[in-house]
Structure formats: structure tokens, C-alpha cells
């Protein structure tokens, strides 16, 4: 049996109410969609969100068991430098790994999932991690700005402990040019919205579902749920109706809570459906983007394991209003901000150093002294314990999955940050080890010495002039003050 073994979701903490967008841009575009959308923090992108989802997905799963990683996104920050490679580095996966990026269509998420199941079915890989994330930009005042949300999803495909097996699939591919971004485009360009809805979503999605039904002799009644990756409310309901699903059997499309998260979108809605699924349920998933992929899943007895994860529900519960549209524009680098000379100053990143220190930087890998047991970060050759001092007695030790306590902190208005103050502190890790880190996804006033934190992979800096994005780990305060 081949299928989904584990899943992890990531929804950024900030939510932008579409009313906030309307308040700022309603003079220009009076059309307002309901609800809110998830917005990546200024230090998040599709790579960091994919890492966060992958991290959640691989909890309690041996990283050594991963044979391949596929990253699906239309917003990978590099044109050349493999996103899946960065993600694999951050997740500390084995280097003898098949890694590939699937891109250029929001259908890439299901494309990656199908490629993963194919590889596992063919016996070429035991476990394949599929990470999908998107962070698409609509121009200020556009409908896309309201529709697009940011988020990530990760699914582990394998044969052991399958929670939902993939029973079959049916794909359609058309050069339907509804959305496009050319070489230098940062923003989505699209054709008339009515045409996209009527000729795109309303035609292809039913066509794909019916194709799947026909291929496997199934009908709507055989399914417990339909997951339809259509962000338009009315069309979403209409597609369900067209293919025979009553409204209660169509999974909520998350448009009012998260938005259309591109390549990750169908996988995130699927995860939400899995969270409520029972053993034996059949789930129909139809993605959209230059055609469609339709997939048929059968939920197994192992489904209970999904509920032990943070999941979509858990992610939705962690939220903070981004109550400033201007802040959203600044976070997405959509307006030129006065960063000052201090903000402009960026030291050259020596990529040979980065490569040499990849465990330290990308994977937050430290060491533990075999002589005295002291974990330490960054990697040391001479033990930092003043009572020990052993030389070259170190073994690898990961800090990425360790929780910690805030030893001390500050909110710095002098250091450059696009979201001042720059909050940072010193973290004492549970089990030993101490270092200083940026703190993110928190407010200064909520911090307390001793507060619990966990680590999150983020953008540390972006050297625009040289095309280098520095990634590193930051500490995120978690609920509960100890």
C-alpha cells in the first residue's frame, strides 16, 4: 500500500483581514472578499514555510528514512539554487537523496505528490517527502492580492504506516494561460477573472473529477469528502454540485481563513479533510493550475495519528492580526522603505564558509561532548564546560528540535529591522546548550525571562545586491510562561 504516511502544515502567524486591505485600497478597488488571509512574516518565504511544514511532518520520524524530497512552489526565491536542497539541509536529511523542485504551476503541489507516489510504487524510494509552499504576490489593489494567502504543507509518502492510500489519479494538462509571471515578474498577471472562473475552474475541475470517476468506475457517492482547490466561493460550491457532492461533503476551501496558497493549497485543504476523516473514507482531491490533477485517497485505520499533530486546526489557532496594510506592503518589499545606511549595510556572505558551516547554519547542528555530555552550539572542538575542556571528543547534536527557555532578551530600536524593534535574546536549551538568537513571531511586551521557546527556520537577511538570502534559525516563544 502506497500513500500518505505523515503530514505537516504551516500557516504563518499573521492574518490580514480583507477589510484591512479594503480600508487601504477600497478607494481603488471596491470589491472586497470576505474573511482574512494568512501572511508570511517579513522573514518568511516559500522555503522557510516548506521547512516548517516538513519539520512538523517529520516529527517522530527518522530523518534517515527519507530517500527523496520534492519541493513544489511557484515562488522559490532562487531561479538557480535548488529549493529542495536548502530544505533538505535545514531538515538535516541524508545527502544520498533524490531532490527535485516542481514549479511553474500551482498544480505543482499535486504533481510532486504524484511523482512521490510513483517513485515509491516503483520501488525507487522507500519514503519521499513532499514539501509545498507558496508566497505569491498580487499587485496592490488587485483581486489576487485578496485571494492569495501564504502557507506550506508537507506530506510524507511511503508504504509503512499509511494513513491514506492513493488509490488512483487522473490528470489534465492545458496551456490555459489564466495566470502568468514572466522572467522578471514579481507579481501575478492574469486574464479577465470571469473567464478564469467560467472557462478554467468550472470546466477543468469537473472534467478531472469525472475523468477519475470514469477511469476507476467510481461515482460521487463512493466518496466521503471532496477537496476542491478552488478559491472562489460560488464556483467552489458549484463544482461540488456539478460532480454530485452535496455541500456538506465538500471540504471548506479555506479562502476566508488562509487564502489560496498556490502549490500548497490543495495539499493544505486535503490535510484539513484528513483531520476529520474516518477509516475507510474515500477522499477526492482535485487541484487546479494549467489543468488539474484528480486524486483518490482511501483513509486507513492509522488515521488517528494525524490528530496527534498540530495540523491545519493547530496552525489556524495560532494567529495574530496584521492590522496595518502598510506593514504588509513593507514585509513583502512592495514599497521602498527608508532602511537607512545601517539597513543598507550588508557584509558579503562567503559562500565557501556557508558550505563549510552548513550543519551549523542550515540545520542548527551543534555538538555534544562525549566526555562530559555538554551540548554546545555552535560546533566546538574544545569543550566549553570549564570543568572539562576535552579536545575533539564531540558527537553531532541537533538543536533544531530542542525546546528552550528565554535566558534574557531585548527589543532593539537601533538595530535595523523592517519590523522594529529587532527582538533577540539568549536561549538556554532544555538538556543544555546556550546561544543568542533572534526572536520572531512575538511582541516585546509579552516576553518574560524563562519563557518557553522553540526554533524556527527563517530568512536572516537578504543581500539584494548580490542575490543572496541568508537563512538561519530564530526562536519563537510558545504558549505558556514558566
Amino acid at each position: 500500500m502506497v500513500g500518505i504516511v505523515s503530514c505537516g502544515a504551516y500557516i504563518p502567524r499573521y492574518r490580514l483581514s480583507r477589510k484591512t486591505i479594503a480600508a487601504a485600497m477600497g478607494w481603488f478597488n471596491p470589491q472586497v472578499l470576505p474573511g482574512e488571509k494568512a501572511v508570511a512574516n517579513y522573514d518568511e518565504d516559500s522555503i522557510t514555510m516548506a521547512v516548517a511544514a516538513g519539520f512538523e511532518c517529520l516529527k517522530e520520524i527518522s530523518r534517515k528514512s527519507i530517500d527523496a524530497i520534492y519541493f513544489a512552489s511557484t515562488t522559490s526565491p532562487y531561479r538557480e539554487r535548488q529549493g529542495s536542497g536548502i530544505i533538505a539541509g535545514a531538515l538535516d536529511l541524508r545527502p544520498d537523496l533524490r531532490a527535485a523542485d516542481l514549479t511553474d504551476s500551482v498544480k505543482a503541489g499535486t504533481g510532486a505528490l504524484l511523482a512521490a507516489t510513483d517513485a515509491v510504487k516503483a520501488g525507487e524510494a522507500g519514503n519521499v517527502l513532499v514539501c509545498a509552499a507558496d508566497c505569491r504576490l498580487g499587485k496592490a489593489g488587485s483581486l489576487q492580492e485578496q485571494i492569495f494567502g501564504d502557507g506550506g504543507a508537507a506530506l510524507l509518502v511511503g508504504t509503512e504506516g499509511v494513513i491514506a492510500s492513493l488509490e488512483g489519479s487522473y490528470s489534465l494538462s492545458f496551456d490555459f494561460p489564466d495566470h502568468r509571471r514572466a522572467e522578471q515578474d514579481r507579481f501575478d498577471r492574469s486574464w479577465e477573472d470571469r473567464w478564469i472562473r467560467d472557462e478554467g475552474y468550472l470546466k477543468f475541475m469537473p472534467m478531472a473529477a469525472r475523468g477519475l470517476f470514469g477511469k476507476y468506475g467510481l461515482e460521487a457517492g463512493d466518496f466521503a469528502k471532496a477537496v476542491l482547490a478552488c478559491p472562489y466561493g460560488r464556483e467552489h460550491a458549484s463544482i461540488g454540485k456539478q460532480i454530485g457532492f452535496p455541500p456538506e461533503k465538500v471540504q471548506d476551501n479555506m479562502i476566508t481563513s488562509v487564502g489560496d496558497t498556490g502549490a500548497a493549497y490543495p495539499l493544505m485543504v486535503l490535510m484539513a479533510a484528513l483531520e476529520d476523516a474516518k477509516p475507510g473514507d474515500r477522499i477526492l482531491l482535485v487541484s487546479y493550475g494549467n489543468g488539474c490533477d484528480a486524486l483518490c485517497f482511501r483513509v486507513t485505520e492509522e488515521i488517528g495519528r494525524v490528530r496527534n499533530k498540530k495540523g491545519i486546526k493547530g496552525c489556524l489557532s495560532v494567529r495574530k492580526d496584521l492590522n496595518s496594510y502598510q506593514k504588509y506592503l513593507a514585509f513583502r518589499n512592495m514599497i521602498p522603505m527608508e532602511v537607512g545606511v545601517r539597513g543598507e549595510e550588508i557584509t558579503f556572505t562567503q559562500l565557501s564558509t556557508l558550505w563549510r558551516e552548513r550543519k551549523t547554519v542550515l540545520a542548527l547542528g551543534g555538538v555534544r561532548c562525549k566526555n562530559c555530555g555538554t551540548p554546545q552550539y555552535p560546533r566546538q572542538r574544545v569543550c566549553v564546560n570549564p570543568e572539562c575542556g576535552a579536545v575533539d571528543q564531540m558527537e553531532d547534536y541537533s538543536f533544531a528540535d530542542k525546546k528552550g527557555r528565554l535566558f534574557t532578551y531585548t527589543g532593539d530600536n537601533l538595530a535595523f529591522s523592517i519590523s522594529p524593534p529587532a527582538i533577540y535574546g539568549i536561549v538556554d536549551f532544555d538538556g543544555g546548550g546556550r546561544y543568542m538568537f533572534d526572536l520572531i513571531d512575538c511582541e516585546l511586551a509579552d516576553l518574560k525571562v524563562g519563557m518557553a521557546v522553540e526554533m524556527s527556520f527563517r530568512r536572516k537577511y537578504a543581500d539584494q545586491g548580490r542575490g543572496i538570502i541568508g537563512y538561519f534559525w530564530k526562536a519563537v516563544p510558545t504558549e505558556g510562561v514558566i
Binding site: E357, T360, V384, D412, N413, L414, A415
Partner: protein, 399 residues
């Protein structure tokens, strides 16, 4: 412990420029001014100087690397000149080199000069750290500043001793008010206005919990000291000042990487360098024996913890001494009679030598309205880096 250099080196001349935002002066101007004053004070000729050390830190906004700038600016006649750098403790590092050359017998008379031009960066505060800590650290360190690093010590100090931020900040404010009171009387200081506790508490936050007046100024300046063998010093002037101790302590990495020892509410190197200096100088009870302190008050919290780390105030009880005026100009152990970094600002390479300038002048009784009565032993404390990773120099001078 080694024999040390107590009474083996004497300061025979000092110089110090006015500190401030000296937009119309370059580092070379500052070097010439500090050197000229020191040379006149010592009453010697340039040719009598046998070796020199230049202290500068941020070479990218200053005179660049090496000591060539000092030698060519002052036209030093082909003598050995070196540049030294040890973060914000650079000035004392230059002084230490000059003293060691004399104490070793390698030289009779040497020069230490520190100069820094901070106001050519285009923004407030110290130059961005960039690669100052090494390119590897750039990849992992927060984008932090000095105020933020020291603010973290304030956060921790308040937490450890159960002070709510208002209480803690009120105590810190008194430290700054005291230094401004002294600095207002110092013609060479950058900031020469008295301030009130209320002003300090209402000032904008630079790095929580530290506000604007908890932070020292940022300025340009240079300072110099000429040192000699004691027998030569006595022939040159009736009142040379003797080096009683000169110690330095550098973090081992334990504070920032090992969670077993450091409490975050003090600076371990200050304690260690102070303890070694007292031993070298033969000081048994610093609270009773020290006449004055010129310490590295880059931030008010730094000064508060220095009181404890230098064993003048008991641990956790420096507040009581602050409240009692113990460190005021007319208190038992005046601290920052010059106005400190608070009022002078902190041109990195110059600061350590600027402290020596003040203690030397105080010991000679030449400080006018700021003069402390009958000082016997004065201490300079110069710190580079952060509470969690640093260099501390402690120098004790006496007559």
C-alpha cells in the same frame, strides 16, 4: 602569580582632545592634538620616544589597518610602531603594550595613542558589526547592536534581583544623572548638560529596557599617554603617576555557550580582571582603598554591574550605594569624575587612554571643580564586546 609590573612603569605625560561630533576633523587631526598635548605635558622631544602603539578599532571608518597612519601623521622617525585592537578595550590595549615595553626593559620611553572617528558612518550608534566578529558569526548572530546586548544584561539583572522595570530603570537613571553632573564640569566632554531622573525615564527607548540616557554618546576623539621607566620619570617631573596594576581578562566562551555558570547579570571578565589587578596592586579592600573609578559606562547597566564586579558594592546591592550617593563626586568612591563614556562618548580606540588621562590628572590634583580630595589610587576599567563575550582591562594608577 607573576611578579607583575607594579611601580615599574610611570606615566609622564597625557593628552586628550575634546570629544564630540567633530565633523570638521579627521583622525589625523585628532592624533596630532592628543600627541601634542601629551608631549608638552611630558616635557620631552619626539625623538625621545622609542616605540609607539596605536589603538583603533573600526578601521573601515577610520585610518585603516596597521600603524602606518600614526607614524606618518606624527612623522615618527622610523621607530617601531604597531596597531593594536581589542574591541572597545582597544585604548587600554595600546597602553598595555607601551607599559610592557618599558617594564621589560626593551624601551625607556614609549607612546600609546588611541583615536577613533565614529561619526563618518552616516548613522547613529557604533558602526554596524558586519564582519567585525568574523564572517562565520555573520551567518548566525542576530543583527544586534551594543545597546541591545547590554540591555539583555539589564533584563536579566532586573529579573534576578526582583526589580520591576520601573524600579530598575529609576536606579539606572541616577547613574546617568550623576555622570552628567560631572561631565557638565568637564570642558573636554561631548555632552555637557545636566539631566534629571525624569528626563532619563521619559527618553525614547533605544533597546528595552535602556533608554537614550542610559546609553553613552557616540563621538570622535583621541587620547594619548607617554610612559617611562620610573627613574627617568622622576627626573622629568615631580609628580609622575605609577602603574600599580594592569590586567586583562577575556571571555572563554563559557558565558554564551555553557548554561552552567554565568548568570547573565554580571560581567565575569570584569570580576576576574579586577581581582587580578587588586592582587597585583596589593589592594586588600577595594571599597575602602580605592579613591576613584573611571569605568566603562557604555550603558548605565554596565556601570551598575561594574560596581559589584569590581567588589566595591556587594552582589545585588549596588542599588543601595547608588541611592546613597556613594559613587557621586563627593561620595566615598567617586565614579566617572570625568563624566565617563556617558558624557564623552566612546571613540573606541581613545576611550581607555581617555580614562587614564582623567585618573592621572586627578592624582595630580589638576581637575578644578571636579577635583577629588586627596586621591591615592585610581582605577580604569575598559571593556570590549558584550556581557556574554568580552575583553576587560583594569588598570590601577597611584602616586
Amino acid at each position: 602569580m607573576a611578579e607583575g609590573i607594579k611601580d615599574k612603569v610611570a606615566v609622564i605625560g597625557v593628552g586628550c582632545t575634546s570629544f564630540g561630533e567633530l565633523w570638521d576633523k579627521g583622525p589625523e587631526d585628532l592624533m596630532v592634538e592628543a600627541f601634542t598635548e601629551a608631549l608638552e605635558d611630558a616635557g620631552i622631544d619626539k625623538k625621545d620616544i622609542q616605540a609607539a602603539w596605536l589603538g583603533t578599532c573600526f578601521d573601515e571608518v577610520n585610518v585603516g589597518k596597521s600603524a602606518v597612519s600614526l607614524a606618518t601623521t606624527l612623522k615618527l622617525p622610523f621607530i617601531p610602531v604597531s596597531r593594536v585592537e581589542n574591541f572597545c578595550a582597544t585604548g587600554t590595549e595600546a597602553f598595555r603594550s607601551a607599559c610592557y615595553a618599558v617594564a621589560s626593559g626593551a624601551c625607556d620611553i614609549t607612546l600609546a595613542l588611541g583615536a577613533e572617528k565614529l561619526k563618518d558612518t552616516g548613522y547613529g550608534g557604533l558602526p554596524d558589526f558586519g564582519a567585525v566578529m568574523g564572517t562565520k558569526n555573520r551567518l548566525i548572530w542576530p543583527n544586534m547592536t551594543a545597546p541591545g546586548q547590554f540591555a539583555m544584561m539589564a533584563t536579566k539583572y532586573f529579573d534576578k534581583y526582583g526589580l520591576d522595570p520601573e524600579e530598575g530603570k529609576a536606579t539606572l537613571a541616577k547613574i546617568s544623572v550623576k555622570s552628567h553632573r560631572n561631565g557638565a564640569m568637564n570642558p573636554k566632554a561631548h555632552l555637557r548638560r545636566e539631566i534629571t531622573v525624569d528626563q532619563v525615564l521619559k527618553a525614547p527607548i533605544v533597546a528595552w529596557p535602556l533608554g537614550l540616557f542610559d546609553c553613552c554618546g557616540v563621538s570622535d576623539g583621541a587620547a594619548a599617554a607617554i610612559v617611562a621607566r620610573p627613574d627617568i620619570a622622576k627626573k622629568l617631573r615631580p609628580d609622575p603617576v605609577y602603574v600599580k596594576a594592569l590586567q586583562i581578562s577575556v571571555s572563554s566562551g563559557e558565558e554564551i555557550m555553557y548554561s552552567g555558570t554565568w548568570d547573565g547579570a554580571h560581567v565575569e571578565s570584569t570580576y576576574r580582571a579586577g581581582a587580578k589587578a587588586y592582587q597585583e596592586a596589593g589592594v586588600k579592600n577595594p571599597r575602602e582603598e580605592m579613591s576613584l573609578l573611571e569605568v566603562h559606562d557604555c550603558f548605565s547597566i554596565t556601570e551598575l554591574t561594574i560596581y559589584e564586579d569590581l567588589q566595591i558594592s556587594p552582589r545585588g546591592r549596588a542599588r543601595e550605594d547608588v541611592e546613597a550617593g556613594f559613587y557621586d563626586l563627593d561620595g566615598q568612591v567617586p565614579c566617572q569624575p570625568s563624566g565617563g563614556l556617558k558624557c564623552f562618548g566612546h571613540p573606541i580606540g581613545a576611550t581607555g587612554l581617555r580614562m587614564i588621562y582623567e585618573v592621572y590628572k586627578q592624582l595630580q590634583g589638576k581637575c578644578g571643580k571636579r577635583q577629588i580630595k586627596n586621591p591615592r589610587l585610581g582605577l580604569t576599567h575598559n571593556m570590549g564586546g558584550f556581557p556574554s563575550m568580552n575583553i576587560v582591562s583594569v588598570c590601577i594608577l597611584g602616586n
